[in-house]
Amino acid sequence: MSLDVARVRKDFPILDREVRPGVPLVYLDNAATSQKPTQVLDALRDYYELHNANVHRGIHTLAEEATALYEGARDKVAAFVNAADRREIVFTKNSSEALNLLSYVLPLGPGDEVVVTEMEHHSNLVPWQLACTRTGATLKWIGLTDDGRLDLADLDRVVTKRTKVVAFVHQSNLLGTVNPVDVVAAKARSVGAYVVLDASQSVPHMGVDVQALDVDFVAFTGHKMCGPTGIGVLWGRADLLEQLPPFLGGGEMIDEVTMAGSTWAALPHKYEAGTPPIAQAVGLGAAVDYLTDLGMDNVRAHEHELTAYALNALQQVDGLRIIGPTTNDERGGAISFALQGIHPHDVGQLLDERGIAVRVGHHCARPACLRYGVPATTRASVHLYSTTADIDALVTGLDHVRRFFT
């Protein structure tokens, strides 16, 4: 069974929008954020119109219902990534908060080392820079090869006995590269380091099984996987999350509070201070249902085919250079490129005049841009509702851009 993309597109009202009268939207900015199906928007509205209440400890009917919906969403997310235990799913506001949480609670000190890669999103780089500054630990990184892959030759040099944390991205939002989690994780395990995986760009596009990955922590974010903004997920092994200290303090994360001191609630509440993003969790649950119904293998197969089509078509465009893997193995559907002599701003702006939405800039991965000698790129990225027609529009648009400026 494969994806019926025409039917899928009917679920996404925004895809019918015209950017300007007569100019339909061609949305190729999915690595920045995905669009939302009606099923998710209905779940949000239903929540607010029928069940809205603060969760936990409330005993009236609305509070019972809201709690059941919120905790039900946790069950759905746990099943989606095959967590061994629902308590391992912590709701945060986005991926960035999940990664920062780890950067605050994992034990680090002078002499310790944290290893990242040169292709990290700023959200999995800056928190570790800040943590190293706070604790006196040292930041190291694995470099990149010319064709957009991790330079695994660096691995043994960079990861040593002093390494306490290895944090890296599953699928790069700039290059599209899918990293060999097993190789990096095995090396990290061999030195006893915690393994943190930034799965912000993988969970929305492929089936991710957190147990099979053999890592300690995984972060991902609702808005990139057809869910609402304002919600992210930290998955972590229960035994580790149980040992680690709390991050944010407040309502719901406590067991017993006196003025003199407090004790912490059991997982996952220990890491969920204050009123959580209740409606957003419910919306994310609906998104997970939606993706599960379609089948993540189907989503992945569709995007894989589309990426092949796009890589091929883009390489026909005169003066276009792809930044990242040019072959379709171990890569996802985010494709960055440079157009000879034309600034990405101008590429993006002219494409927008034709309704084509791509992203231009450093995509919060400036070190990787510097590595490839470009201050910025143009990036087109697909999702489950993208079509070859979208790619054709892009390629025609790029030809137009080239003619316009020469």
């Binding site: 600034h343 701003h345 005049e353 450093h362 841009c369 201050p375 316009f404 400026f405």
Partner: protein
């Protein structure tokens, strides 16, 4: 290209055939400004004679909007008194922060009125302003050292 396009003929002309481009001597101040988001970058020099903007020379990389804006700016400011140049600068800033609402004064801004469309796009306003911010920075440094010749003060700034 639609009517609403920010790529007005004037802007494209300046982008393809920039005026006063290249770094020249003498100058009293040189600055480098950059926009780390997109890598736009400009190095700009100012040469004053008394209270007159004798020369503005520049080099750099960037999108058509930032390049054309530098070219248009030099046309407007070279030869003016510092006071007149500053009031043109202020007028251009007002236009760029108007979100397309202001009817620009063509007598004052000349070719720069073509940037009105850009002012609707918050993400691009920075591009159009890069050269102007650099010039303001350079001229305030040069005013401190006006009258000196040769290699003046050099500074770096981020836009």
């Amino acid at each position: 290209m639609t009517d609403e396009s920010i790529y007005q003929e004037i802007i494209l002309d300046h982008y393809k055939h920039p005026h006063h481009r290249g770094l020249r001597e003498p100058f009293e101040a040189e600055v480098r400004h950059l926009n780390p988001t997109c890598g736009d970058e400009i190095t700009l020099r100012v040469h004053l004679t008394g209270r007159t903007v004798e020369d503005v020379s520049y080099d750099g990389e960037g999108c058509s909007i930032s390049q054309a804006s530098a070219s248009v700016m030099t046309d407007l400011l070279i030869g003016k008194t510092v006071d007149d140049a500053l009031s043109i600068h202020d007028e251009f800033l007002r236009l760029m922060h108007s979100r397309g609402e202001l009817e620009p004064d063509e007598d004052v801004l000349e070719d720069a009125v073509a940037f009105r469309g850009v002012s609707r796009l918050t993400a691009r306003v920075k591009c159009a302003l890069l050269a102007w911010m650099a010039w303001k920075d350079a001229v305030s440094q040069a005013s401190g050292t006006a009258g000196d010749t040769g290699a003046g003060a050099t500074s770096e700034g981020a836009a």
